[in-house]
């Protein structure tokens, strides 16, 4: 039995960890365990209400909703996780360069990130998709760019305060290269806040990704993400409310779990909040 850190010993947070783990499993293996073909059309099984054979019912093309949502979990989670990775790598690199070196470099990077932060990230991502195209790569790139300034700004602040600490001065006196000092001394020391930041960005990315695919600008059909399934179901909502209820619940539940775990991580790394 692994001992859970104190910040996670709350029923709500344990629930969040277990549920998110299940959702991640579904995202990874979901595409292989679909009870029905998620893409093939079948006129005989149109708009079936949830029952023992079709747990979540079927859509207007006769496709099993559960199967589609299992595939969709993979798309939604993959796009948001890759977005977080891309934005974190770029944001940490830019933020630590700005915070560590200061001067003109800092002014340029901070000027750009502050400027971009004045734009709501979803609106920026939307506009970038017009250029990059509504594809999986286009989405990851657009969302990654939209969230980078947010991460860069916070990392910059963390690096500025970490740089002033004695061990960095010692490392500088040893004439270690700056990139080595940043990677070996500074980043590990601000790891906690970065993890909290990444968990928060994960929630924002999932939200933005489902909004984009809801608008039809996400990963193109027939492979749907949850937002896309929701948008499809919207038109048949009055006859088949399950087409909206299940994907909607999946998005809310996933976001809720990520947010609850994020709260736990925040308390864990910042004892003042506990």
């Amino acid at each position: 039995m692994i001992a859970l850190p104190a910040s996670f010993r709350r029923p709500s947070r344990i629930f969040a960890i277990v549920t998110l783990a299940l959702i991640l499993c579904a995202a990874i293996i979901g595409a292989f365990i679909t009870p029905y073909d998620p893409i093939a059309l079948n006129i005989h099984t149109r708009l079936i209400a949830p029952n023992a054979a079709y747990w979540f019912g079927s859509d207007q093309f006769g496709r099993d909703l559960l199967s589609r949502m299992l595939v969709g979990a993979g798309v939604s989670i993959r796009v948001s996780l890759l977005t977080v990775c891309a934005a974190s790598i770029a944001g940490i690199a830019l933020g630590s360069a700005a915070g560590y070196f200061g001067g003109l470099l800092d002014r340029i990077i901070s000027g750009f990130s502050d400027g971009l932060l004045a734009l709501p990230s979803i609106l920026l991502a939307l506009s970038l998709i017009a250029v990059l195209g509504a594809s999986e790569t286009g989405n990851i790139a657009a969302l990654g760019i939209a969230f980078t300034p947010y991460i860069a700004r916070i990392v910059r602040g963390l690096v500025v305060s970490a740089r002033a600490r004695p061990f960095v001065e010692v490392a500088q006196n040893f004439k270690h290269p700056s990139s080595y000092i940043i990677a070996r001394h500074i980043v590990p020391n601000i790891f906690g806040p970065i993890i909290v930041l990444a968990s928060h960005t994960f929630a924002l990315a999932l939200l933005a990704e489902s909004a984009l695919s809801f608008l039809g600008l996400g990963v193109p059909p027939p492979y749907p993400s949850w937002g896309g399934i929701l948008a499809d179901g919207q038109r048949f909502m009055s006859d088949a409310p399950w087409l909206v209820l299940f994907p909607g619940a999946a998005i809310i539940l996933t976001l809720l779990c990520i947010n609850l775990i994020g709260d736990g991580l925040r308390d864990h790394f910042d004892p003042r909040n506990a």
């Binding site: 709500s12 000027g111 750009f112 502050d114 400027g115 971009l116 004045a118 734009l119 709501p120 990230s121 979803i122 609106l123 920026l124 939307l126 506009s127 970038l128 998709i129 017009a130 250029v131 929630a203 939200l207 489902s210 909004a211 809801f214 608008l215 039809g216 600008l217 937002g227 929701l230 919207q234 909502m237 009055s238 409310p241 909206v244 209820l245 909607g248 998005i251 809310i252 976001l255 809720l256 990520i258 947010n259 609850l260 709260d263």
Partner: protein, 314 residues
């Protein structure tokens, strides 16, 4: 004071400059030549060359940027590829619609979340607090478009009380306006309310732990007076610093909500422009949003010291 305002204005100019570069590059990074994009399939090579010369596309990139910027500063944002209408004019019309959505959403979420957040903080760790915090956590995890669909399902389809799409301007009939905005506004404000409740609760707890509260209690102040005189006043100013963030998230929300409800606002305008790759409109919306954001932030930043003497403008 005027020196402070001047400095803030300079910051806004820098922000706008940065965004203008990004927005300008957006069109240049787009696949295809802008002149070809404007003319569509109808252009022959002579016409394309003419348009290229008119737009200054034969000039080096920095020159092109300053040519474009010159037009933008004079309020000329170009014309829409889709409709041929001047972008500035269309922007304003759509913004007036969006304003009729985000203003009520903003005001209602403040009126709703401030007292509830204070209540939760005051009754910290009671069942009431747990219930409020729990619902707020669910609220912040509810994307506005999911809320919108759920509201449509219940109040539009099942109960048939409210229209699930369309928009009537306030000037054209306050009652019909109200009917049409109830669902979209509710969908927009749920997330905001969740964020605000959590924020107010944390601040309230912080204020209640201060020494002067213990002193005020020992003086015999009732809880009501304590909340009204100390907690409310001291949590109001930090809340104002959230205004920019709320505005930003409300504007993000309109892109999706206006699409769900077919409301001809700024968000819908942007989404349609993205579908059509109507770059002048995309550029115009982004620049406009940044100006609105900067102005609103400036106004609230100037109000803040009036409410909280601890905040000094520097």
């Amino acid at each position: 004071m005027s020196a402070i305002i001047t400095r803030r204005m300079l910051t806004i100019v820098v922000t706008l400059f940065v965004v203008s570069i990004v927005v300008f590059l957006l069109l240049r990074l787009a696949p295809g030549d802008p002149a070809t994009l404007i003319l569509g399939d109808t252009g022959n090579s002579a016409r394309i060359a003419k348009v290229r010369a008119e737009m200054g596309l034969d000039q080096p990139l920095p020159v092109q940027y300053f040519l474009w910027l010159g037009h933008v500063i004079r309020g000329d944002l170009g014309t829409s590829f889709m409709t041929g209408e001047p972008v500035a004019q269309a922007l304003w019309r759509h913004f007036l619609v969006t304003l009729q959505l985000i203003t009520p959403a903003f005001i209602i979420s403040l009126l709703f979340a401030i007292p509830i957040g204070i209540l939760a903080g005051w009754r910290q760790d009671t069942k009431l607090d747990l219930a409020i915090v729990g619902s707020a956590s669910i609220f912040v995890s509810m994307p506005s478009f999911v809320v919108a669909l759920l509201l449509n399902l219940v109040f539009g389809i099942a109960l048939g009380w409210l229209p699930t799409m369309g928009f009537v301007s306030l000037g054209d009939g306050p009652l019909t306006w109200l009917q049409h905005i109830i669902l979209p506004v509710t969908a927009l404000l749920i997330v905001e309310a969740g964020i605000l409740i959590r924020f107010m609760r944390t601040n309230t707890i912080e204020v209640l732990n201060q020494d002067y509260i213990a002193y005020a209690r020992s003086k015999g102040l009732s809880d009501w007076e304590l909340l009204r005189l100390h907690v409310f006043k001291n949590t109001l100013a930090p809340t104002l610093s959230l205004v920019g963030l709320m505005l930003s998230s409300l504007l993000s929300g309109t892109a999706v909500i206006e699409t769900v409800y077919s409301i001809p606002g700024l968000g819908r305008f942007l989404v349609d422009a993205v579908y059509a790759r109507d770059y002048p409109v995309i550029q115009g919306v982004l620049l406009f949003v940044v100006v609105v954001y900067a102005v609103v932030n400036l106004v609230f930043e100037l109000i803040q010291p009036l409410l909280d003497p601890r905040v000094r403008l520097t």
